[in-house]
Every structure is written in structure tokens, then in C-alpha cells.
């Protein structure tokens, strides 16, 4: 067994044990937990921790993905392979279904990211999920920096940042009334760099688009977007070949790639350690809409 054994606990050891503790605690008191799994690096790490938390049993709950219809094929393939490898069950809530039957309408800006909220809340209510695990980290964004590890959502899935419960020590209170649910974030205290170092240490597999590769991309709003049926070149835009990788993996309509030569985990860690831009600032169009874009989305039930 090569698992390292330092004289003193490293930051990763502390974070791993904390994450496992949170998952066990929330699952132990839950009726019907579910884990939000997109195939992105943070949800992959949460799933990895969940597998450790319940070892030598399988993860004892289902996975849920809200598919905007604009997700990258290679990420969806990776998602399905991972689910099959671990012998788990995945429910997919599709934004496309909602658009097809008129419950949701496309937005003028073409992004479907904010449209995920309703299918997410319907899936939670429809399946009766009471504890919903997610991979959000506090270092991602200033509204997320304020959220509790165990975060209460009301009947409308709303987060009320002014009425959060006190959260003392490592005693997590997930009690709630019928119709409410809690979101649980085991990676609350992880940074982007912690996530990459952990992925390297644990040799966790990821979708290939996190690593530098050649891709046709076009420049828009200071980001490199991959042409896709949701991202068509506009007048004056031309697709060019660039060596890029993705720092976050969301919907192709709003997630940008960064120019990079980092093709290995070691190179990615070095790149993240010396970057001058935050993860979301570099790659997410949806956070640029306004000063409080994330807070506003979260208040109405977003992840």
C-alpha cells in the first residue's frame, strides 16, 4: 500500500477526513439522499469521498444530473462510465424536455445554465430527496463563500442568506420540515488547488477536456468557446485551432476554455498555483451578468 503516511496530517488529509465525516453525517440522518453528479472535477471528488465513506459497501444512494442539453459529449460519456463502474444509478433531469413541452423557454442570450433550477427542484420534489450532496466550494465565488456546509432550502428551493442557521463545530443540523430539503457541501473548505492535488494524489480519473488538447474555438467576451450547436459563430467571429483546456466543466454555451499547455496533473497543478485569474472569472459567462449573479441564482434554488 503506497498511501502516504506523513508524520503530521497534511492539509489534504484534514480535508479528506472532514469531507468523509460530512457525507456520513448527512447520509446517516437522511431518508433519501442523492448526489448531484455532472462528471465535472468537483462532483467526481465528492463521489470519490462518498465511495470511501461507505467502503466496503457501494455508495448507498442515487446520483442526479441536470442535463442542459448542451453538455460536452465526452463529459457525458465519462459520467455514464463512472456510474456503471461503481454500480450506481443515475437519474437525469433534462432541460430539453422542459423546453420541448413549453415549461421553460430559451433565453435570448442562448445560455441554458440558469434554466437548470426548475428541473433540479422538480427532481428533488418528485423523488422526495431530503439531502442533496453537491460539489460547490466556498472559494469559487463570493456568495458561495457565505454558505453553510449544511444549507437549508425552503419549499421553493430558496436559499436565504440572511436567515442561515448557526452551524457550530462539526455538529451539522440537517433537520427540516416536510417539503424543505438541505444541500450538503462536503468540499466547502477545499480550494481549486486542493482539488487538483487530491486528484493527483488519489489518481482519480477525469474527463479528457480538463487536459490540454487541440480544439476549434472562437473568441467571445474574452473567453474561448467551443463551437457547438449552442454556440454558433457570429459575424466577425471565426473558429481557430488553439491548445486549450477547461478549468470548470459546465454547459458548452457558457463555459470557456483557457489556453494551456498543461497536459498532465503535475502541469495543471503548477498552472493553477500560478494563475492570475479565478476559476469562474476565467471561464464562466453566467457569473459576469451582474455583481450578484451567483447570489441571485442561489436564492431561487440553483446549486
Amino acid at each position: 500500500m503506497t498511501h502516504h503516511s506523513p508524520a503530521r496530517a497534511s492539509t489534504l488529509d484534514v480535508l479528506e477526513s472532514e469531507g468523509i465525516h460530512i457525507i456520513r453525517e448527512a447520509a446517516g440522518g437522511a431518508r433519501r439522499p442523492v448526489l448531484l453528479f455532472s462528471g465535472g472535477k468537483d462532483s467526481v471528488v465528492v463521489l470519490h469521498l462518498a465511495a470511501k465513506a461507505f467502503w466496503p459497501g457501494r455508495v448507498p444512494f442515487n446520483l442526479l444530473h441536470v442535463d442542459t442539453g448542451y453538455n460536452f459529449d465526452e463529459v457525458l460519456d465519462f459520467r455514464d462510465r463512472t456510474v456503471a463502474r461503481l454500480g450506481l444509478r443515475l437519474t437525469v433531469a433534462r432541460v430539453q424536455d422542459y423546453i420541448d413541452d413549453g415549461r421553460l423557454r430559451e433565453r435570448p442570450d442562448g445560455t441554458r445554465n440558469p434554466l437548470q433550477t426548475i428541473p433540479l427542484l422538480d427532481a428533488i420534489a418528485g423523488h422526495g430527496y431530503d439531502v442533496v450532496f453537491g460539489g460547490a466550494r466556498r472559494d469559487e465565488e463570493k456568495a458561495r463563500a457565505k454558505e453553510r456546509v449544511v444549507s437549508l432550502r425552503d419549499e421553493f428551493g430558496q436559499w436565504d442568506p440572511r436567515q442561515q442557521r448557526p452551524e457550530l463545530w462539526n455538529l451539522y443540523n440537517a433537520r427540516h420540515l416536510p417539503g424543505q430539503h438541505v444541500r450538503v457541501f462536503p468540499l466547502s473548505n477545499w480550494t481549486e488547488l486542493d482539488v487538483w492535488r487530491y486528484i493527483a494524489r488519489e489518481r482519480i480519473e477525469l474527463p479528457s477536456l480538463y487536459f490540454a488538447h487541440e480544439r476549434e474555438v472562437l473568441r467571445r467576451d474574452g473567453m474561448w468557446l467551443a463551437p457547438h450547436h449552442s454556440v454558433r459563430a457570429r459575424a466577425g467571429e471565426a473558429a481557430v485551432a488553439r491548445r486549450v483546456r477547461y478549468r470548470t466543466v459546465g454547459d458548452a454555451s457558457c463555459t470557456g476554455a483557457v489556453e494551456s499547455d498543461a497536459a498532465t496533473l503535475e502541469q495543471i497543478i503548477a498552472e493553477v498555483a500560478s494563475t492570475r485569474l479565478t476559476e469562474r472569472g476565467a471561464t464562466r459567462a453566467d457569473d459576469r451578468l451582474s455583481e450578484a449573479a451567483m447570489e441571485d441564482r442561489k436564492k431561487v434554488g440553483y446549486f
Binding site: H4, R138, A143, L168, L171
Partner: protein, 485 residues
């Protein structure tokens, strides 16, 4: 703006140790500004985050960049210019990794300040040099004493407004120190700072030549941390620790014992979160019959072969194995999440506490505690609440309220400042006695931080009502011994 200072490219480099700290102090004393300054001067702010704060400052008519906006990220916070809830930020220096919690000062949000302080190894208490110690400073120091935060750093702020004079700093430092020490807070360091201009925050100021102590950052870098103690303990280590040694039989007594014994061979505590019995869900056929108890070591080091008491049942057995998904261990230190297997087929459930036979945790049906009451409605005698302790949740009734801490009394201790009172109102700290429907292994918080901590929960809507720290009864004393004045 430049890059982060963390440049190690090793996947898991011999990590600088981790310190969790929180800010405290009255509204507008400069907590968020200090935190912003600390992040700025340690080059922990990335370019786009800095630009967005620059933009937000400008749109509010400020001429300089308001570094408090780095943590005051909510719409309402920016509109009102105050902190409402805790913001967590992460940064490192070559010496250490930090998790920081920037807390609100406004009395209305004390519950959030306590949230931030409850996980802190160190508390940075801000005091405005012009006004000195005010009621909210005393309240936060009392909270620090209640929570037994191991280190307190007092930043006497806004000294730029007093021409960087030594006198006011020294007066305030003396006053805070004596107040903090009376509350039993050890290790208080006072630093004269200007959060706005950066003096003595991360960089030593040339405008305070009379000051020879550490900067705020140096004080944080050198404070011993709790986490670093050891989540470690993978692999090596001796075998049987406590086999055969006869400890006290830990039955369910009435009240906590004020254990006078020294910590010669400190025991360990392991709250059980889950019973792992995979059966058909086993990842491989050989684990079908597996039966292990999952949890995080709360205190001490658990070793294979150790004799075990299960509380509250009092059954005894030994540790047969310590498992992780990465392989078995011979020992596991505090903070480590593992699963243990036991030698005998005893009854163990979620919420039980395993502890070493040496220095075992006693279970009790009644205990005294300090309680910080965080709800709008008052707490009264005979109220029914839930006590959440580790993974256990039991019904409880308030047997008595023995007194309420009088924040206005300066220089008192947590006990001597207690005045008589029959109810706890929002933000009160009081001494209460709780009677439990089932025994719990609640211990004296002063000796056992993890197993002495609990929260009170509303049985009806599930709201978190209070933070509690259990306290041992002084031997032979009646409960009114706490109610003086």
C-alpha cells in the same frame, strides 16, 4: 496584483500546517478591512477578483479600493456596508495554510459570529483604538472563553486616526488583556494596526517604532494549530495500547464527573456515525458479512487491540481492526475518518460513543452546561429541546437555569459574572441544567472539546437554537455556587 504565493508543484507536498482562524469585535471596528488587507498583502487575491472589488468600490463612490468588499460579498452587505454572515476564505504563506472566517460584529448577527468562532484555532479580536473595549468586544471575548478558542490576537485598529501614538494602544491592550485573562483566555497577543493602511497587518510598520511584537500575520503563523496534531497516524505505531488496564467502569451516572486525574495516558473518543453492514451492496463478495463502525476520531489515538467501552450501554470489547478504503491501519489519530471493527458482537448504533477503557467517557442523564442562546424566543425552565451531541440526538428538558452572564460586568470570569436569571434571551450566555430522556456521554468541555460540545435544536421545526459546552460540577458544590452577585 500578482500571483498566489503557493508555488509548490508537488501533488501533496509536505504541507505547511493548517490554521483556522476567525475575526471578532464590534461592528465597524475593521474586521473585514483587516481580512482584505491580509489577503491583499499576502498576494492571495487574483486579478479578476481584485478588479471586481475595484469596480464595486468605484460604483459606490469610493476613491480607494474598499478591501472589505472581498468578504462582504452579499448584495445586502454591500448596500448596508456591514457584514451579515460569515465569509470563508483560504490563503497560504510559505509557513502555513489558513482557513479564515470573517465574522459580523453587529449584535443582531451574533449567532453567525459564534458559527465562525466555533471552528477556530485562533480568534483575531478587533478593537477600535478610539473607543476601546465596548460591550460587543466583551461579548465576543466571553464567546471565545465559552468556546475555549486556544489563541486570541487583539488587533487595536485605526491607530492612523490617533497618529500612531503608543499611549492609547497600551491602555487598551492592558485592559483587553486583563479582561481576557480573567475570562480564562490564555495566550493573548495585542498588536497595534491600521487595517486600512496595512500597518502591522502583514508588514511591519515604520510608524510604530515603539512596538516590538509580532504583526498579525506573524502571530497567526506561529500559533500552534489543533488540526496538525495528527489526522496522520497512517501505518506505523505500536500495537495494543490499553489492553488489560483496568479503568473505571463507566456506568450511567448522575452528572459529569469532575475528573481530577492527570492526562498521563490520555484516552481516545470515537463517536459512531454509521454502522457499515454492506451485505448485498458489498463492493466484493468477501465483504458481504463485513460489520464496521464508521466515524471520525474525536480525540486521542485509537489503536488496534485497545480495550473499548461503548456508551451509553457500558458494554466492553476491544478494537479488532481499523479500516479505511485505502487499507487497514494500526492506529488512527484525532480528526481521522475511519471505520473500526470490534472483537465482540456488542450492540453499537449511530450516536454511540466508543472510548478507551483508560480515561473512559462516563454517560449521564443530567448535566450542567454553558449555553449561548441564539434564538428569538426565550429559553425557560421545563422547555423541551433536542440535544445534538456527536451523531446522537436525544430529547431533553431544561431542569434549571442557574444564571445569566452579565456582559456589562468588566473583569469578571465566566462564573463570577453570572447573575441570577430565569430565562435566556437572544444572545445571552447562561448556565443551565439539562435532563435527558436517554443517557449521553457528554463530558466536560474544558477537557474534551469534541465530546463536551453540543447544540440545542427545536423539536418542532428543526432550527438550531443554541451552542452548548458541558461543564463538570465542582465536586460537592450545589448548582447555586455559580450564581454570585
Amino acid at each position: 496584483m500578482t500571483t498566489t504565493t503557493t508555488t509548490s508543484t508537488e501533488p501533496d507536498a509536505p504541507a505547511p500546517s493548517l490554521l483556522r482562524f476567525a475575526t471578532a469585535g464590534s461592528v465597524d471596528d475593521g474586521k473585514s478591512t483587516l481580512v482584505g488587507r491580509l489577503l491583499h498583502d499576502t498576494k492571495s487575491i487574483l486579478a479578476d477578483a481584485y478588479e471586481s472589488v475595484e469596480r464595486a468600490s468605484r460604483s459606490r463612490g469610493a476613491e480607494t479600493v474598499d478591501l472589505a468588499l472581498l468578504t462582504d460579498g452579499l448584495r445586502a452587505e454591500r448596500e448596508q456596508g456591514i457584514t451579515i454572515d460569515v465569509a470563508y476564505r483560504y490563503f497560504s504563506t510559505p509557513r502555513r495554510t489558513f482557513i479564515l472566517a470573517d465574522c459580523p460584529g453587529h449584535v443582531q448577527y451574533t449567532r453567525n459570529a459564534i458559527t465562525g468562532a466555533s471552528t477556530a484555532d485562533a480568534l483575531v479580536v478587533l478593537v477600535d483604538a478610539r473607543y476601546g473595549v465596548v460591550e460587543q468586544t466583551r461579548r465576543h471575548l466571553a464567546v471565545a472563553a465559552l468556546l475555549r478558542v486556544p489563541h486570541v490576537i487583539v488587533a487595536v485598529n485605526k491607530i492612523d486616526l490617533l497618529d500612531f501614538a503608543a499611549g492609547p494602544f497600551e491602555t487598551i491592550a492592558r485592559r483587553v488583556r486583563s479582561h481576557a485573562e480573567a475570562l480564562g483566555l490564555p495566550d493573548v497577543v495585542a498588536v497595534p494596526v491600521s487595517a486600512l493602511h496595512g500597518d502591522n497587518v502583514a508588514v511591519r510598520s515604520e510608524r510604530t517604532p515603539w512596538y516590538e511584537g509580532p504583526t498579525v500575520l506573524e502571530a497567526l503563523e506561529t500559533a500552534p494549530s489543533v488540526d496538525e496534531a495528527a489526522v496522520a497516524g497512517a501505518g506505523g505505531g505500536a500495537g495494543a495500547g490499553g489492553v488489560g488496564s483496568a479503568g473505571d467502569v463507566a456506568g450511567a451516572g448522575e452528572g459529569l464527573e469532575a475528573s481530577a486525574g492527570a492526562d498521563a495516558r490520555a484516552g481516545w473518543r470515537f463517536p459512531v456515525q454509521l454502522v457499515l453492514r454492506p451485505q448485498d451492496a458489498a463492493i466484493a463478495p468477501e465483504f458481504r458479512e463485513y460489520r464496521g463502525y464508521a466515524g471520525q476520531v474525536a480525540e486521542g489515538t485509537v489503536r488496534v487491540g485497545d480495550a473499548v467501552v461503548v456508551q451509553p450501554s457500558g458494554s466492553r470489547t476491544t478494537i479488532a481492526a481499523i479500516d479505511t478504503a485505502d487499507g487497514p491501519l494500526r492506529e488512527a489519530g484525532a480528526g481521522r475518518s475511519v471505520a473500526v471493527r470490534l472483537a465482540d458482537d456488542v450492540d453499537v448504533a449511530r450516536g454511540d460513543l466508543l472510548s478507551s477503557v483508560d480515561d473512559a467517557a462516563p454517560a449521564a442523564r443530567r448535566f450542567h452546561a454553558h449555553v449561548a442562546w441564539l434564538a428569538e424566543r426565550p429559553l425557560r425552565v421545563r422547555d423541551r429541546v433536542l440535544v445534538q451531541h456527536g451523531s446522537a440526538v436525544v430529547q431533553a428538558m431544561v431542569a434549571s437555569i442557574d444564571g445569566v452572564l452579565d456582559i456589562a460586568l468588566p473583569g469578571g470570569t465566566l462564573d463570577s459574572s453570572i447573575r441570577a436569571g430565569h430565562e435566556l434571551l437572544l444572545n445571552d450566555i447562561g448556565v443551565v441544567e439539562l435532563q435527558l430522556a436517554q443517557p449521553l456521554a457528554v463530558e466536560d468541555y474544558g477537557r474534551h472539546r469534541r465530546t463536551g460540545a453540543f447544540v440545542l435544536v427545536d423539536p418542532q421545526d428543526g432550527a438550531t437554537l443554541a451552542a452548548g459546552t458541558a461543564r463538570a460540577q465542582a465536586p460537592g458544590s450545589a448548582s447555586d455556587a455559580y450564581v454570585r452577585i
